[in-house]
Each structure stands twice: as structure tokens, then as C-alpha cells.
Amino acid sequence: MGVYIVRRALWMLFVLFVISVMTFLLMRLVPGGPFNTERGIPEAVKANLIARYNLDASLPEQYVDYMAGLVVPRFTDATYKRSLIEDYAINISLPILGEGVALRWMNFGPSLTNRSQSVTSMITDKLPVSIQLGAAALLVGVIIGVPLGIVSALNQNKFWDYFSMSIAVTGVSVPSIISGPLLQYIFGVRLGLLPVAGWGELNHLILPAFALGFIESALVARLTRASLLQVLGEDYIRTARAKGLSERVVIGFHALRNSLIPVITILGPLAAALLTGTFVVETIFGIPGLGRSFVNSIGNRDYTLIMGTVLLYALFLVIANLLVDITYALLDPRIRYT
């Protein structure tokens, strides 16, 4: 298992490297640039901006400079002053080595279009928000989805099956761009129970978590149902029943545990999708998450922000997939990694 994880980790690094090169090249191939505006700016100012952000260097140089800033840790002395250009995500102060000395790591660089925040501070500010929202939505998805799937499977082709599945289909079919404003209208405007938009208090989380989680719950429910139905037909279930185990133990312990493997499989990509795919919900509910920055960075040609967010999400995806693979081994004793 240990060897397997190390090998996977090395592959992950390689994948991230490829993604970084591809992203860097692709974004520079797209027409337009970060300093184009409807007004147009004087050439002298544009030249200043290009020089300030190192965009006049050759592409390989720019790539190496950017990646070096991000990947290579640096020791700084007391003269270091945090600025938009030099802002590190990880700062460990090391007074043992001298006054003001610190080890700093991960400088995502300045945002080319937002002139008040570095990419590092955008990420450190907004990522926790996205994680909270994503986790809450995933929780809603699982809490609603798994029971729906179980009820449905245990009542195959009966009323409760059709009932649960029609809820699931509704969930899949109604995108958050519809359900979001609907929830706002019902619970915010009409009933006045929950805030329409905003962030910072627990009650701000509820509506967006449902708007996002409802869709996920539908996927989870359908998958749980299909998988549970398959497992219920297996020999070992018959054996468990033959042993005289109560139905509750048979379903809850033997069947459910095995039927969750496919569900776990999609939770990885689902978790990543929840972190990345929250643009609409963030917009509707006024949530300062990373999804908006991610999507907008592309339209704005904010090269550093594109790189920062893409790499971050790529990292999430590969880690989520690794975790899913490890979880398999825990759920199914037959799966062994060497």
C-alpha cells in the first residue's frame, strides 16, 4: 500500500506538470490579453504593465519564472515586504536563523486584472469558502441521495421506488440556475426564513447547499439504487439471509457496504466538481468563492489567476481520485494495491 501511494504520488506530480504546461500554452494561444479594455489604454502604459508583469520575457522563461515562484521555497530576511507581486501562501517564521528570517512557499503571483489582491490571497481567501460550500452540498447530496436510493431499491417497482426516483430525476433535471432563484424566492422573499444572499453566517449556507446538493443527491440516489439492487441478488446476501440474520443487518451491513463502492467512485469527481462547478450558485447567492474567480479569470485573460486556479483544481482532482482508490481497499477486502 505504501509503495503504491508513493508511486501514485509521483504520477500525480507528472500529471500536474503536464497540466501546467498545457494550460500555460493554451491560455497564451487565445486571442486578447489581460490589459485590453473597451477604452483602450495608451501604449506607454501598456508597455509599463507588460514589463511589470514580466510578460515581455519569452514564453519558456515566463513559465519557468512562474513555476519557480510557486514551487521553490524561499528564505527571506527582514527586508521582505508583502506585496501583490510577492505574496506567499505558506509563511513559516524562523527566528532561530536570524531576526525576520522566514521560510516562504507558494507565490501564485499578482492577479493581472484585480489590482487589489494577489492570486495567493484570492486563493487563501476564497478556497475555504468554496470548501465549506462544497462540503455542505456534498453532505446534502449524500444525506438525501443514499436513503432515497435505499428506499427505492428495497421497494423495487413499487410506489416508493417510483416516488423516490421521480424526486431523483427532478433533481438531475433542474439546474441550480432554476432551483437557486426558486429557493431564494420561496424561503427568502416569500417566507422570509433565510437570507437571499450573502456569506459569513451559518444560515447563508443552507439555500446554496441545497441548490447544489439537490443535483448531487439525484446522482447518488440513482447510483445507490442500481448498485444495491445488484448486490441484493448476490449469493452472499442469500447466505446471510439463510444464516437467519435480521433483514436490518443483511441490508445495513452486508449489502449496503458493498453497494457503496460505485457511489464512492463518483464522490471523488463529484467533490472536485462541487469545488469547481459552483460558479452559478456563487453568483446567485453572492458567495465569495473560488468558482467565480476561476471562470472569470479565463474571460479576463488573467494568466496568473488561470494558472493558479487550474493547478489548484487539478491538484484536488488527482488527490480526490487517489483517496477514492484508497477507500476501495477499505470497503472491499478483495482489492489490494501493491
Binding site: P31, A44, P288, S293
Partner: protein
């Protein structure tokens, strides 16, 4: 699982209780969304970098300008400074009001004066203003070309500014947001993070209390600002600006979460039909002109008759009623009618471009006959940036040109970055211009004078002479006459654009607020108040 469900139910119930307890009256604190602030963030609080409506909105509240445009008449009044000028109208002498640098202290929850090394309060000096000008222009990152050629500090309160172009239109520069003081002592100490709430020092009616990037910014009353000329001290204690999508703003307003908000286009009809909401709605002319640019470098638009024919063939009334539907005003000139020295369509009916389907058809046929071309010789494309509104307008205009002129025009949609890049190569492109300051100079000189590279390729010596001359005059009637001639060239005789409509601006305001409505494009929240019951 059941345990989880129980926990979750509990969570929901607790949060419901929280919401109910939070709802209480907050006096003298107002929560608003501001024009174009949208769901993202205010890009900067640095007046030397600001070039967008939201940034300018906030900076004028914390770093007010030397001159202040009146929110009703759009006339320039004295802001933090008063001025005199020499006979040649080249050198302007500014005298500053008494203003203190202040900073919000989160620990004491109060606005405090900034002290210098000796412990004396730091006052705003003439060199703080001179420093701002040194940060504008090509030497600095700011995106504004320098209007100022030289600045001399005479004493603590007085400075002399030499204008690049002589004339009283220079006074408009004093009313622009970058004609403010910026704290040199602070910027030199902390660098470009000086605008963060924990660092920033300001002097206007408001100070910065909090800035949650991407969510909100809170301004707090500055008790050390006693008012300066036309800028009064703030009446409210706090203004909280929220960054919300237009659609969400309307819902949040209806739920009582906002004291003032913008109006989403899709909600406009419903709001005007609703008796409660329509009473809270105010409408006025916006700050932008929507237009189509025609590439005059190549056929057919190298001939002004072709541009004029295409322009006259756009049924502006139909478009604003059926397609845009927010009470937009059909435009015959490029210049917004509310600007200083703006030529009015009613005064110069022959100069404006008006919808004239028959005339358009005749003109286009004349052009085809003269050049020996047919409609099939042209493969023209309208370029617009990705948006439902722009797409709808382009499709409507495409149909109008087909019906009236018989020309088939294609439509190309690009994302904003690509669109800007491709504009200069497009046959026809959609565009809008929004004012920076309330003078016609900002439309006719700043956009189409040949010293500016226009994407349509327009360059006309006669036009240049007209707008340059108008910039040096002080009589607005005389100026308007010159600008009318310039407009005639721009939209008719040497046509390069088809002005389509003037934007309108709508806002909703709750009944508890007493406010001013600005035609400037930014609100002066120091004049807003909460009604006493």
C-alpha cells in the same frame, strides 16, 4: 444515518432561529448595492489605478476630488479645493480645504487620526495632491493618459497645475477621481498593499471599515471630516456595499436585505407592474451610449453614405421598445444629452441621424449604382461580445438591414477579450461608451479625436479642429454649436458610427431612506440619510 438526519434537522432549526433573531432595526446603517458593482469585487481603492465605475464610486467617498460634479446639474463645483487660473487658461492654482488623514481602528471600533513621527495629526497637504498626479500617466500603472504637464507645490495648502491642453475644459480634470490626495507616507512605507483596510488612510466623509473581497465593503462615517465646499459630512454611520448579481439584488431588496439596489433587466416589467415596487423605483438617464462602429478602412463603409444608410435602417424605436425594453432613449447623436455643452437633437434635427427606412434604402441603392456593386459583393459580419442582450440586438438589426437594404449580414459572437482584440478588423462591431466626466469633451474628443486610435479607423481633420476648438471655449452654447458640427461629421457626413440608444439607469430604494439621485454615474452617499420615524 438516523443520527446524521437528526443532527441535520437540528442544524436547520438552529439556523432558522438565528435568522429570526438577527432581524432587528439598524439605525443609520445602510446596506446597498451600487452601479455596476456586480457580484465580483471592487477592483481597487487606489484613485491612480481606478478606471471602472465601482472603484471610482468608492474612491470619491474616501478620497474626494478637488472639484465635485453636482449630482443634479452635473456642473463642476468646488470639492476639497478651490481654484483660480491665469488669462491663458493654462495654469490653475488650487487651494485645499483643511482635511485630516484618518484610519479605522478595529480594536477601538473607531475612526482615528493618523499621527506623524512626532505624534502630530497628519493633515492633507498640497504635496499629497501633487503626489497623486505624479502617479497618473505613463510613468505609473494607471490607465489614464496625463492631462497635467506640471505640478508645483507653493505651500502646504496651495499648488499650481499646468494643463497639457489650454482651456477651461481642463477644470473637468479637477473633478475626476484621480484629482485627489493620496497618502505618500503610507504608500512608500507599505507598498501596493496600502489599500487594504488594515493599512489604508483616507480623508473623505467616509473611512474604510472592512473589505471582504468578493463579498462586501463597509465604509464608516469619518467624524474628522467637517465638510469641504460642496462636499458635506456624512449623515449615516455606515454604508455597507454588497457585491451581488443583478437578479439577486432584486430578490435581496424584496426580502428587505438591501436599502437600495439596481434593477435586473428581466425584472423591470414585473417591478413597473407591481404597485409597491414601482413606487420605490426611480428611473433616469444612464451614463452610456450604445452604438455600432463601422470599419471605414474598407468597402462598403469607406463611403460615408453606406454607413449612413445602415444607420438610418436601424429602427431605434422598435429596438428599444421590443428588444431592450428598459425605457432606453433612441440616440441620434453619440453624445449623451445630459453632458455639459452637449448638442441637443431638438436644436439640430438635420445633424442627428434618425431612423429613416425609405431614405436608407434610397441612399444604399445610390451607393450600389455609383460603385457598380450588388448586395452579393459584400460578406459583412457584426461582431459583438457574448451577452444575451447584445445577441438579441444584433439579430434584430440583422433583420432590419435585410428587410430595408436587402443585405445579408452575419453575426459573430466572441468572449470579451477576443472581441476587443478583433474589433479593429471587424466590418461592424457593437460598442458602448460611458462617461468619465460630465462634459461633451469626454465623448467627442476623448473617443474620436485622431490622437486616439479608434477601432473603426475614423480620422478626420475637420472633426479634429472642431473638437479641439470647443475644448478651449468656456461658453457652453458656443461649444454646443461646434460639437453639433462634429456630431454631424461623426454620424452623417463622414459617418463611422450608428448611435443606437442612451442607456437608462433604474434603482430601487426602500422607504426608510432619504437619498439623492445622481446623474453623474456615481452616488454621493454622504448626502443619504435614514428617515427618522
Amino acid at each position: 444515518m438516523i443520527k446524521h438526519v437528526r443532527k441535520f434537522t437540528l442544524l436547520v432549526m438552529v439556523s432558522l432561529l438565528l435568522v429570526m433573531s438577527v432581524v432587528s432595526a439598524q439605525d443609520k446603517k445602510i446596506i446597498v448595492t451600487a452601479q455596476e458593482m456586480g457580484p465580483d469585487d471592487v477592483p481597487t481603492l487606489d484613485p491612480a489605478i481606478a478606471s471602472d465605475v465601482p472603484s471610482v464610486q468608492i474612491t470619491v467617498l474616501i478620497f474626494p476630488e478637488i472639484g465635485r460634479f453636482n449630482e443634479v446639474t452635473a456642473e463642476l463645483e468646488s470639492g476639497i479645493g478651490t481654484w483660480t487660473y491665469n488669462d491663458e487658461q493654462t495654469v490653475f492654482t488650487i487651494t485645499l480645504a483643511d482635511l485630516a488623514w484618518v484610519k479605522y481602528n478595529a480594536e477601538t471600533d473607531a475612526v482615528e487620526q493618523v499621527l506623524d513621527a512626532e505624534g502630530n495629526p497628519r493633515m492633507v497637504t498640497a504635496s499629497d495632491v501633487a503626489y497623486s498626479y505624479s502617479r497618473v500617466g505613463p510613468d505609473y500603472l494607471g490607465v489614464y493618459q496625463a492631462f497635467v504637464s506640471d505640478v508645483t507645490v507653493l505651500d502646504d495648502k496651495t499648488l499650481e497645475i499646468t494643463a497639457v491642453n489650454p482651456g477651461l475644459t481642463f477644470l473637468n480634470v479637477l473633478g475626476m477621481w484621480f484629482s485627489a490626495a493620496t497618502p505618500q507616507f503610507l504608500i512608500e512605507e507599505v507598498g501596493d498593499t496600502w489599500i487594504e483596510p488594515e493599512n489604508i488612510a483616507t480623508y473623505g466623509p467616509f473611512a474604510v471599515k472592512n473589505w471582504t473581497h468578493g463579498e462586501s465593503i463597509t465604509l464608516i462615517n469619518n467624524p474628522f471630516f467637517a465638510g469641504a465646499n460642496a462636499i458635506p459630512a456624512a449623515k449615516v454611520d455606515e454604508v455597507l456595499f454588497r457585491f451581488l448579481d443583478e437578479e439577486t439584488q432584486t430578490a435581496a431588496f424584496e426580502a428587505g436585505e438591501l436599502d437600495a439596489s439596481e434593477v435586473a433587466g428581466s425584472q423591470y416589467e414585473r417591478i413597473t407592474a407591481d404597485p409597491t415596487l414601482s413606487a420605490q423605483l426611480t428611473e433616469g438617464l444612464g451614463t452610456c451610449t450604445y452604438y455600432y462602429g463601422f470599419n471605414v478602412r474598407k468597402a462598403p463603409f469607406d463611403d460615408p453614405r453606406a454607413v449612413l444608410a445602415f444607420s438610418q435602417a436601424i429602427d431605434r424605436e422598435l429596438l428599444t421598445e421590443e428588444v431592450t425594453g428598459r425605457g432606453e432613449i433612441p440616440a441620434g447623436f453619440f453624445t449623451l444629452p445630459t453632458l455639459q455643452a452637449a448638442p441637443q437633437q431638438a436644436d439640430y434635427p438635420e445633424y442627428a441621424v434618425l431612423t429613416d427606412l425609405e431614405g436608407a434604402k434610397a441612399l444604399w441603392e445610390e451607393y450600389l449604382a455609383d460603385t457598380g456593386k450588388t448586395n452579393a459583393d459584400f460578406a459583412l459580419t457584426i461582431l459583438h461580445n457574448n451577452s444575451t442582450l447584445h445577441a438579441n440586438i444584433a439579430q434584430a438589426i440583422q433583420q432590419m438591414w435585410k428587410d430595408t437594404l436587402g443585405v445579408e449580414v452575419a453575426i459573430a459572437t466572441q468572449d470579451f477579450g477576443t472581441y476587443l482584440d478583433q474589433r479593429k478588423d471587424a466590418d461592424i462591431f457593437r460598442a458602448a461608451w460611458c462617461k468619465d466626466y460630465s462634459d461633451t469633451n469626454n465623448f467627442l474628443f476623448d473617443v474620436f479625436h485622431s490622437s486616439v486610435n479608434t477601432d473603426s479607423g475614423f480620422s478626420n481633420a475637420e472633426y479634429d479642429a472642431l473638437v479641439a476648438q470647443a475644448a478651449t471655449l468656456s461658453d457652453n452654447v458656443e461649444r454646443a454649436a461646434l460639437y453639433a458640427e462634429a456630431e454631424r461629421l461623426l454620424v452623417r457626413d463622414a459617418a463611422t458610427i450608428a448611435p443606437i440608444y442612451y442607456y437608462t439607469a433604474q434603482s430601487l430604494t426602500s422607504d426608510r431612506i432619504e437619498r439623492t439621485h445622481s446623474v453623474i454615474g456615481r452616488e454621493y452617499y454622504e448626502k443619504w440619510d435614514v428617515k427618522s420615524n
